[in-house]
């Protein structure tokens, strides 16, 4: 017997190239992952250890060269420890994930002489600067418009990031880098002897834009005012402070095992149902041509062109032919003869019959439908008159 299914050995031999190609592709992917780091090309934004375009390694390194001690804090405990170690310290707080609670925010800012809040969200503003409100996105280049040293040194700053608005009638606030409509990108104010800066220009601090405009001067002046800079970006690790059990702690250990098993079951079921019972069988199918194609096409043409008279005439010719046959006229009989015969047959007025069968011109589709109905009805009457009792 000729076996069409290849044996395992021949299958491996014929698909060796593809097995090899897939293996090479996987190897390359793994190699790239290992060399570039699993985080991918972007990395964490504004991270002082990220050399990518969105990172801020440049600022941190330049500050270190200038003699500023840059401490990278991963948790709130680290940050508090680092702040406690020096008398004058600047805290850069970038909490894009909104991980810190209100009490944590006040606790960590209270320890610093100067706090730089980078792109604070709603919770942070409520806790630390209640009179400052979010005011949407900012883009373009912003001009120096106040006497805050960082802004004066910079001259121009890349504005990409968030904008803020200070409530009317509040005193002691320096609102800088305006982009119109009372929207500013830097708000600085003093609070209990400490300085608080709300900074929206995220792009100006990133590696990608640090060399543009006066960004470098802006960043270095803002962050390098004290000997120590604590660079703190809260993570999920800071959430543990609440002592609340996580979802992982609440579920029993076997749940993840069961989920893994169900995934395997899904794959197995797919293989079970997906394996075909032999190859498809080829069959040439005959062409199928619907017979009424031309009929439908012509009907649509009549309708699109609103050829009412032409359509009605077609119906009339059909009716005339049938009525002529019913009245026993020869097929050569003229239209007038048929009309007279039909009028005599049904006992209707010859003028009206002629109007219906020959003369009336439909001016609207409604007219056409009415006349076609009358034709049908007239034909029925004629048939009734000729039928033997």
């Amino acid at each position: 017997m000729t076996v069409l299914t290849p044996t395992v050995r021949t299958w491996v031999r014929t698909s060796l190239f593809w097995i090899f190609a897939i293996a090479v592709a996987l190897l390359i992917a793994v190699a790239v992952m290992v060399t570039r780091g699993a985080a991918g090309s972007g990395g964490a934004p504004l991270s002082p250890t990220n050399a990518g375009p969105v990172g801020s390694m440049a600022v941190a390194e330049v500050l270190r060269d200038q003699g500023v001690t840059v401490v990278v804090a991963a948790t709130i405990t680290d940050a508090l420890k680092a702040l406690a170690r020096s008398d004058e310290a600047t805290l850069l707080l970038h909490d894009s994930g909104q991980f810190l609670a209100r009490n944590q925010l006040t606790e960590v800012t209270a320890a610093a002489t100067h706090t730089v809040l980078v792109e604070p969200g709603f919770t942070q503003l409520r806790a630390l600067a209640p009179v400052v409100k979010s005011a949407g996105q900012v883009s373009g280049v912003l001009q120096a418009d106040c006497n805050v040293p960082a802004v004066v040194n910079a001259g121009t700053v890349t504005g990409g990031g968030s904008g803020y608005r200070v409530d009317d009638g509040t005193e002691g606030f320096a609102a800088c880098l305006g982009s119109g409509d009372e929207r500013v990108s830097l708000v600085q104010f003093a609070q209990d002897g400490r300085t608080m800066s709300v900074v929206g220009t995220v792009d100006a601090l990133s590696n990608e834009h640090i060399a543009a405009n006066g960004n470098a001067a802006f960043a270095l002046t803002l962050l390098g005012a004290t000997d120590t800079l604590v660079w703190y970006q809260p993570t999920t690790a800071d959430l543990h402070a609440e002592n609340a059990p996580t979802v992982g702690e609440l579920t029993p250990d076997w749940v993840s095992s069961v989920i893994a098993l169900l995934l395997l079951v899904f794959v197995a079921a797919a293989v079970w149902r997906g394996r075909r019972m032999g190859p498809l069988i080829i069959e040439n199918l005959p062409v199928t041509v619907p017979a009424s194609e031309t009929l439908e096409g012509r009907a649509r043409l009549y309708q699109q062109a609103s050829a009412r008279l032409r359509a009605l005439d077609a119906l009339r010719i059909g009716s005339l032919e049938r009525i002529a046959r019913m009245s026993g006229l020869a097929s050569t009989a003229t239209v007038d003869e048929v009309v007279l015969a039909a009028a005599a047959l049904t006992g209707r007025d010859a003028g009206m019959v002629k109007d219906l069968l020959v003369d009336a011109i439909p001016v609207s589709d409604r007219d056409l439908i009415r006349l076609s109905d009358q034709l049908l009805e007239f034909e029925r009457a004629a048939a009734h008159a000729t039928r033997p009792a």
Partner: protein
């Protein structure tokens, strides 16, 4: 190879040890266990490659009937084969069951019967047989597809043969009638018989009466040994489907009924299926052989999407016969544009032969003329009236060049053609 639903079920069962033991290792152990058991099961499955196959099926069948196809599987391997077998017939063969379970002990042979109920005419083929052989636990299976050709010729249904007895009865009525009923050019003298009351006195043969000293009348019978040439158009217009039957199928039905009737009446029938080339032909066959050869020729022919070449038809008819004959053209006479070739060719045929053109009409067109529900329906009715007018004009044009036209719905056309033939025969116009 493949796995069965039991394998999946066994895998799902792993939830029990995982939950009860509550150990991360339980998952790995269970999956490994299932895979090992399935691998053992697979190793114990009989090899489908060790099967020797043969198939027995009737070579021809009529459309609408069922025939059994028997597949013999001989297990030449050392292990038993517990398998599901799929006999690979084409879908339109209507093979049931499509999958059948079978157990073949080592060295033995089993038969599997599949019932074929094709729903299309022509040659229906089988290409291969797929065997899925399960292990003793039915967890995993080995699968192989074995090449095994098979074919069954599906002949036209010939539904119109139900009309045959009544038409044959009418044919017999033509036989032996007295001259007053049918005397004409085409009738020929048959025999003499005694006068019975009611016979036409004009058909009394006085010479025979004088010899026999009893009144004797002449009887007549319809002419015999006339030729009928049936030409079926297999071009583009014949592909159109009317009332769920293609035009060519209706033409085949009409041709079969006409041939069955004519061959009983003693006429000779030739069939040619033609578009731009001769797709099939039956010449010089008589009696039962004629019909069987006709259905065999018709079976594989499907219409082609090309224009019918009418100009080749006269020479085709000439090649069949030189004597005067009835030429039946089975085509469609719907629109003037499509039938121009037919009209220009017809005079050449009508010069020498009696020509009958048969065409299918669409019952949907007649129904459409009466449907005037709304705007769309009225325009459609107008279009349908127009189509009928075109068709009747075409019929008139064909009659003007001396040919006869028969048009009817698909179910009515075969008996209508047969009736026209009988009428022509009775009138002696063949």
């Amino acid at each position: 190879m493949t796995i069965s639903g039991w394998f999946v079920a066994l895998l799902v069962l792993g939830i029990v040890p995982i939950v009860v033991l509550d150990d991360p290792l339980a998952l790995a152990v269970w999956v490994a266990l299932v895979i090992v058991v399935a691998a053992l099961d697979l190793a114990m499955a009989g090899s489908p490659r060790m099967l020797a196959l043969s198939r027995e099926v009737a070579p021809r069948m009529r459309l609408g009937e069922s025939v059994p196809s028997t597949l013999y599987l001989t297990n030449q391997g050392r292990r038993n084969v517990r398998a599901v077998v799929r006999d690979g017939w084409q879908p339109s063969t209507g093979a049931t069951p499509s999958r059948a379970p079978v157990t073949i002990p080592a060295g033995e042979r089993r038969a599997l019967t599949t019932t074929l109920t094709p729903f299309r005419r022509g040659e229906r083929r089988a290409a291969h047989v797929t065997v899925r052989s399960y292990g003793p636990l039915r967890l995993a299976a080995r699968q192989a597809t074995l090449a095994l050709d098979g074919a069954v010729q599906v002949l036209p249904a010939f539904h119109s043969r139900k009309h045959l007895p009544s038409r044959l009865a009418r044919l017999r009525e033509l036989d032996g009638r007295t001259s007053v009923m049918i005397r004409g050019q085409g009738t020929e003298f048959d025999s003499l018989r005694e006068y019975v009351r009611g016979d036409d006195v004009r058909s009394i043969d006085w010479r025979a009466t004088a010899r026999k000293r009893d009144v004797v009348v002449r009887t007549w019978r319809p002419e015999r040994d006339r030729r009928i040439v049936i030409i079926v158009d297999s071009g583009r217009t014949s592909a159109a489907r009317i009332a769920n039957e293609t035009r060519i199928d209706t033409a085949f039905e009409s041709a079969l009924l006409l041939a069955a009737l004519a061959t009983r009446a003693g006429d000779r029938v030739d069939l040619i299926v033609y578009d731009r080339r001769v797709r099939g032909q039956v010449r010089g066959a008589t009696g039962a052989d004629l019909l069987s050869r006709m259905v065999t020729v018709m079976a594989p022919i499907d219409p082609e999407l090309i224009e019918m070449d009418w100009s080749g038809v006269p020479s085709l008819v000439r090649s069949v016969t030189n004597q005067r004959s009835l030429v039946v053209l089975m085509t469609s006479v719907d629109a003037a544009g499509a039938a121009r070739g037919l009209l220009t060719m017809l005079p050449q045929l009508t010069l020498k032969h009696t020509v009958l053109v048969s065409s299918v009409t669409d019952p949907a067109v007649a129904a459409a003329t009466l449907d005037r529900r709304n705007r769309e329906a009225v325009y459609r009715a107008a279009s349908a009236e127009r189509a009928r007018l075109d068709a009747s004009r075409m019929a008139a044009a064909i009659r003007r060049v001396g040919a006869d036209v028969v048009t009817a719905t698909p179910t009515d056309l075969p008996p209508a053609v047969a009736d026209r033939y009988l009428a022509l025969k009775a009138a002696g116009r063949l």
